[in-house]
C-alpha cells in the first residue's frame, strides 16, 4: 500500500478499499520502523493523525468527504502547527509550540487531511543538504551516506522512502526542487504569492514560497488544490483566482514551445545529467512539443544577487529570536546584551549565523547601495530575461541541479560550493516564477531531476506537461532499493 501514489490512495479511500485509519496506521508504523535510517521527521504526531483519520472516516461515512479527506500529509517543520512543536530545524525553536496554525496547515486540516508529523529541514531553511538541521541531517533513501538535498530534505526523503505519500515544502532558492530532484520525487514551487506564507516561518520574505512534494505531478496538483489561494493574512499573496490544478493534467502538449537555456546546458554541467535531461526533452518532443535554445544571460548573476537579498531579509526576519518572548533563552543572563548575544550564539547554528552576518553587513549604511540595491537591480534584470524568453516560448526546461546527491559532509567546509548547487533554481525565486522538478533518470543509481519553469501563475501548465511526461516515463515510480 505504501508505494501507492496519493492519487491512488485517494481512489482507494473513495472506493472503501481502505479506511483512513488503516492507511494512517500503516504509515505511522512505517515511520516508527524505518525513519531511524532517514531521520526525515523531527516530530511525529500519531495521536493527532489517528484522531484526524477517525474524523475523516466519519466524514466519509456521512457523505462529506472531499478530494483530500483522509489522506496523509507531513509538514515541513517551518509551517506552524497549533500545539505541536515547530522547530524550523533549530535549537532556537526546539521548545516552541505554536499557538496557531499556518494557513497552509489550516487548509489541509479543513480539507480533512491527516498530519503524520513535521519533517526535517536545514535550520531556518538555510541550506542545500539538510546538514544544518539541529536534529542532524536527514538522509537520502537512495543512499543513506548521501544528502537528500535541502532545505526541504526531510519532506523529500520521507516521500522517497514512502513514509508519507505527500509532504509540504518551502522554496526560497530551490528548497523544494533541489531535494525533489536528489530524492527522485516531484515537487513544485508555485508563483510567488500563490500559496500563503502566513504561519510559514520566514527566511527571506520576498523569495519564500510553500509548495507540494509528492510522487507525481498528478499528486502535486491534488495538493496544490488544497494549498493555493489568496489569504488576507498575507499581503503578498495573490488575489488572482485559483484554478483546478487537476483539470488540465490530461490535455495534449502538442504544439507546446519549450525553450532550453544554453546557460543551463553548458559544458560545466555534469555530462551524465545533461544526457538525462536531453532524454527527457526527447520524450516531450515525441509528445508534440517543439524545442529551441534560448538564452538567460544573467543566470550566473543570480547567485551573488540571491546571497545578498536572502541574507539581508533573513538578518531582519530572524531578529525576533531574541530570547525575550519564546524559544531558546540562555541561562542566567547578566544583562540585556548578554541575554541577546548568548541566546543567539547558543540558539543558532553556523550557517544561520553566517547568513545573518552577511545580511547585516549588506544592509549597513555605506554598503547598502553597493550590495542590496545592486542585487535588487540584478533581480529586475533576471526577471526581464525570463519575460523576454516567455515572449518566445511557453515553458523553459533544464536540469534542476548540477549534480546528483553528494556525500554527507562533502561540502561542509566550502559554503560557496554548496551555494553553487542552487545555480539553476535561485533565479526563479528572484523572478517569482513557478518551477517544478520532475524525475528524469538516474546517474549511478542516484535520481536526476528535470526542471520545468513556467510563466507567472502557469502552475496548471507545468503540472500538465509534467503529468504528460510521467504518462510516458516511469522514473517517478522508481523507488530506492528496499522500499
Amino acid at each position: 500500500m505504501h508505494t501507492k501514489s496519493l492519487t491512488e490512495l485517494a481512489a482507494d479511500l473513495a472506493s472503501g478499499a481502505v479506511s483512513s485509519t488503516e492507511l494512517t496506521q500503516a504509515y505511522l508504523d512505517r515511520i516508527a520502523a524505518l525513519d531511524s535510517r532517514y531521520n526525515s521527521f523531527i516530530t511525529t504526531t500519531p495521536e493527532i493523525a489517528l484522531a484526524q483519520a477517525k474524523a475523516a472516516d466519519e466524514a466519509r461515512a456521512a457523505g462529506q468527504a472531499g478530494a483530500y479527506t483522509g489522506l496523509p500529509i507531513a509538514h515541513k517543520d517551518l509551517f506552524c502547527t497549533e500545539g505541536v512543536r515547530t522547530s524550523c530545524g533549530s535549537k532556537m525553536l526546539d521548545n516552541f509550540e505554536s499557538p496557531y496554525d499556518a494557513t497552509v496547515v489550516a487548509k489541509f486540516k479543513a480539507a480533512g487531511a491527516v498530519m503524520l508529523g513535521k519533517t526535517n529541514m536545514d535550520e531556518f531553511a538555510m541550506g542545500s543538504s539538510n546538514e544544518s538541521s539541529f536534529y542532524g541531517a536527514s538522509r537520502n533513501p537512495w543512499d543513506t551516506d548521501r544528502v537528500p538535498g535541502g532545505s526541504s530534505g526531510g519532506s523529500a526523503a520521507a516521500v522517497a522512502a514512502r513514509l508519507t505519500p505527500a509532504a509540504t515544502g518551502s522554496d526560497t532558492g530551490g528548497s523544494i526542487r533541489q531535494p525533489a530532484a536528489l530524492c527522485g520525487i516531484t515537487g513544485i514551487k508555485p508563483t510567488y504569492g500563490r500559496v500563503s506564507r502566513y504561519g510559514m516561518v520566514a527566511y527571506a520574505s520576498s523569495l519564500d514560497q510553500g509548495g507540494p512534494m509528492a510522487q507525481s505531478a498528478e499528486d502535486c496538483a491534488l495538493m496544490l488544490n488544497v494549498m493555493a489561494g489568496f489569504d488576507k493574512m498575507d499581503s503578498t499573496s495573490s488575489q488572482r483566482d485559483i484554478e483546478d490544478y487537476s483539470a488540465k493534467l490530461n490535455e495534449s502538449i502538442s504544439g507546446l514551445r519549450i525553450g532550453v537555456p544554453k546557460e543551463y546546458m553548458s559544458d560545466d554541467l555534469d555530462p551524465q545529467i545533461a544526457e538525462r535531461v536531453q532524454a527527457g526533452i526527447k520524450e516531450l518532443e515525441k509528445l508534440g512539443a517543439s524545442v529551441r535554445e534560448i538564452s538567460l544571460p544573467r543566470t550566473r548573476m543570480s547567485i551573488p544577487a540571491y546571497y545578498i537579498i536572502a541574507p539581508a531579509e533573513a538578518s531582519s526576519n530572524l531578529s525576533r529570536f531574541d530570547g525575550v518572548r519564546y524559544g531558546h533563552r540562555c541561562e542566567n543572563p547578566e544583562d540585556l546584551m548578554d541575554l541577546y548575544t548568548r541566546t543567539r550564539k547558543e540558539g543558532f547554528g553556523a550557517e544561520v549565523k553566517r547568513r545573518i552576518m552577511v545580511g547585516t553587513y549588506a544592509l549597513c549604511a555605506g554598503y547598502y547601495d553597493a550590495y542590496y540595491n545592486k542585487a535588487q537591480q540584478i533581480r529586475r534584470l533576471i526577471q526581464q530575461d525570463f519575460l523576454a524568453a516567455f515572449n518566445e516560448v511557453d515553458l523553459i526546461l533544464g536540469p534542476t541541479t548540477p549534480h546528483p546527491a553528494f556525500k554527507i559532509g562533502a561540502k561542509n567546509n566550502d559554503p560557496v560550493s554548496m551555494y553553487m548547487e542552487d545555480i539553476f533554481t535561485l533565479s526563479l525565486n528572484l523572478a517569482g516564477l513557478p518551477g517544478m522538478s520532475v524525475p528524469c533518470g538516474t546517474v549511478e543509481g542516484l535520481p536526476v531531476g528535470m526542471q520545468l519553469i513556467g510563466n507567472y501563475f502557469d502552475e496548471a501548465r507545468l503540472l500538465n506537461v509534467a503529468h504528460q511526461f510521467q504518462q510516458v516515463t516511469d522514473w517517478h515510480k522508481q523507488t530506492p532499493a528496499g522500499i
Binding site: 517551518l78 505554536s98 506564507r197 499581503s235 503578498t236 539581508a312 531578529s319 518572548r325 540585556l336 541577546y340
Partner: protein, 483 residues
Amino acid sequence: MEWETVIGLEIHVQLSTQTKIFSGASTAFGAEPNTQACAVDLALPGTLPVFNENAQRMAIMFGLAINAEIGKRAVFERKNYFYPDLPKGYQTTQLEKPVVGEGYVDITTDEGSRRVRIHHAHLEEDAGKSLHEDFHGMSGIDLNRAGTPLIEIVSEPDMRTSKEAAEYARKIHAIVTTLGICDGNMAEGSMRCDCNVSIRPKGQEEYGTRTELKNINSFRFIERAIDTEVARQIDLIEDGGKVVQETRLYDPDRNETRSMRSKEDANDYRYFPCPDLLPVVVDDDYVEAIRATLPELPDARRERFISEYNLSDYDAGVLSAYRPQADYYEAVVAASKDAKLAANWVMGELAKNLNANDTDIKQSPVSAEQLGGLLKRIKDNTISGNIAKKVFEHMWSDGGTADEIIEAKGLKQVTDTGAIEKVIDEVIANSTPQVEQYKAAEPDKRGKMIGFFMGQVMKATGGKANPGAVTGLLKKKLDALCD
C-alpha cells in the same frame, strides 16, 4: 553675545484607529498588560503584517490639513534594532517614501506670526513598553501598545523660541483632534514630542550642533525643556565648551536635561523596504474623497469665530484649538444667543471647573444646553452674574436646568423697585457713619463709595437684587441726602 535659538520638532501622534496598524488587536488604552497583543504583535514566528487602511486614510487627512503633497506610492521600511519592547527586532516605518510630503502650518504668538514648514509625516508602528518597577530586578514588557499606529510629523528647524515650539505643538494638537484622528490625550502618550534644539550667534546662518530632547508630553514642558536646554547650551559655549550631538532626557521634577546617549552610540538601523508589505498606492480620486470628508479646520474656524461672533483674536484662538471645546462653545452660542457671554463662560467658569477636576470637556457634567440655558437667564435679568455662578455650581454637582435650580433655590432676581427701596432705606438708616462720609466727600469721589452700600443691599437680599436697579436707586437716595 546675543544668541538665537533654532528649534525643530518631531511629533508622534497616535492615530485613533480601533485596531492596530498591522494586526486586528485593539488599540484601547489602559488594559491589563499583554491582553491586547495578538500573535502578530508578539512577533510569533510565521506571522505577517496586514496594513490597516484606516491609518492610511487618517494620515492623508493630516496631510491635506497641512497643505501637503500626498505620497502616491508610500513604502514601508524596516528600521532594525534590538530592544525588548520591540518584538520583531525592527520597527515598520516609512523613510524614503512617506505618506505625507512637504507641508506647513502657520502659528501666532505674542512674538508675532510664523510659518513652520513640515518636512514630511510618515506612518509607523509604536513599540511596547518596558516596565522597570516591581519585577525583582528584572524588567517587564507590556506589548499592548506595540503596533499602535503613529504618524511622526517632522518639522523643519523653523522655530526660534520655546513659545513658538509650544504653539506649533498646540497647533498640531488642534489639527489632529479637529480631524478626529487622535484623541489628543497627552498624559496617556497619544501625542509625544521630541525637540531638536541648537543655538547660534544672532545673524549667523550656519546651524549650531543640536541636541534632541526626547518624549516630552505637555506643552508646558516643551517650553520649559527648551528654555532649560538653551540656557545649558549658552552656559556651555560661553564657558568655552562645545555642544555634543546627543539625545537628552528632560526631567520635569528637577527642571533639567541630562544625556541619554551620544551620537557615537547611535544604531545603524539598516533600513530596507519591508518585503511583507506592498507599496501603498493611492490615486487622486481616493485623496479627493478624503478631502471631501475633512471637517472645518482650526484656522478656518478661528477666522469664522472672529467674523461671525465678533470674538477677539485671543478668544477665537483658544476656543477653536480643541474641536470638542469649539463644538461645545458653538452649542452654547446656539442655546444662549450670546456669543460673547458664551465665550466668557466657556473659557472662564467652565474651564476653571474642568481644570480643577481634571475633566475633558467631552465629559463635562454641565452640557452645552444646560450652560446655554443658564446664560439666557443672565441675559433676561432673571439672575445676576454672581447668582449664575451659584446656579452653575449646583448644575456641576447635582445637574438640573438653570430654571429648575433658580426655582428650587429661590434665586430669582428681585427687580421689584418697592422691595429694593425698602432694603435700601434700611441700609442707609443703619449706616450713619458711612452716610456721613458720603455726604462729606467731594461729589466726584462719591461714585466709588456706593460700593459699600451696594454690598450691604446685596447681603441683605441674598444677592438676588438686580444690581443695576440697586445702583440707580442708591445713587438717587444718597444724593438726595446730600442736598
